[in-house]
Symmetry: C2
Subunit: 198 residues, 2 copies
């Protein structure tokens, strides 16, 4: 005696969310139908809105409702420097830190052969076209320091090497507030290799 | 520089799902918009369908698209016995085990003062009305053996005591396949108290 068809369909649909398995989907469906129908309506409408309105900025590839996102359209940000990140969340973290005043390019992911994400699934062609414009002096590779992020960075470096731009990457070392005792060997290795005068 | 309005709205909406915080909502929104727009459409439609079609069976209170669910409508199930469970998932687990051939009543939750779920938020009035019908001989309290489940069971027992029905609860003891070494004291306590001839 399974649940009614439309409850089963809802559970099946919710399982498409990342990190949601059968048990979680069941709990979510129960919650939406029994405890929060208003929230369910809100999710339904927010998905509809987002699907119809969210596209990619034609310059930086970030999510955007217009042709060009606010950062790309801004005249107060240096067009000489291009910071390449994996996701909008990474861009947001850099903006929060307030250290960077150039432009961005958002890959929307990283190379991950196991998940069928190769160079064609990322916006690498668009990145190369953008770099060809002669306003850009420096490309900062700011992918994550995970295996996939570093593979992506390495791949991009190979492509960019031939171009007349300076390519840099973010510094590697001990994070602020960290203690040597709890640091992993890889980080300590980087911290020693990249040591500098105080 | 936050995400576009409709992406922010989507993240806010997804946070209404149980167990989903800001980071997970962001990951889900990114996944839906960048990797699985088809899945997003599927979720949107499944929620709409479920909201419009799913109601409660007027007899057992389980989710149902018709007036009466299949179990309540079935003539092959004994109307003398009523098994009270917390959720549709609990009912499903009992059905899977195939040991019970009576009817059910689904409370749709358990008493939980901290979450503002009191007797009025559960379908306890409907349960009592159902028990008043003279077809029912036995009420099996099959709530979970959690604190809330047991409080719910105790509360129901007090209400049912005065009625001319037999009230039982599921046996407590060691689960099949379990090892004494790993059993918690509460379960061992129950297993000794309720011991029986082999």
């Amino acid at each position: 005696m399974p649940d009614p068809r439309s409850v089963e369909d809802l559970k099946k649909a919710l399982k498409r969310l990342p990190g949601v398995g059968p048990k979680t989907a069941q709990r979510m469906a129960f919650h939406l139908l029994e405890r929060d129908r208003k929230g369910a309506r809100q999710i339904e409408q927010a998905i509809g809105q987002a699907l119809s309105q969210v596209n990619h900025c034609r310059q930086c590839n970030n999510f955007c409702e217009a042709e060009l996102c606010e950062i790309c359209a801004s005249t107060s940000r240096s067009p000489q420097s291009l910071c390449v990140v994996e996701t909008p969340a990474d861009l947001e973290a850099i903006e929060q830190a307030g250290v960077y005043r150039g432009k961005y390019f958002v890959l929307m992911g990283h190379l991950s052969p196991l998940d069928d994400v190769g160079p064609d699934q990322l916006a690498i062609r668009e990145l190369m076209t953008l770099v060809s414009k002669n306003t850009i002096d420096e490309v900062i590779l700011a992918t994550n320091l995970t295996l996939e992020g570093q593979a992506t960075s390495d791949y991009l470096y190979e492509l960019l090497e031939e171009r007349p731009v300076r390519v840099t990457r973010l510094a590697r070392g001990m994070p602020m507030g960290s203690e040597l005792e709890y640091m992993d060997p890889g980080t300590l290795n980087q911290a020693f290799t990249n040591r500098s005068p105080p």
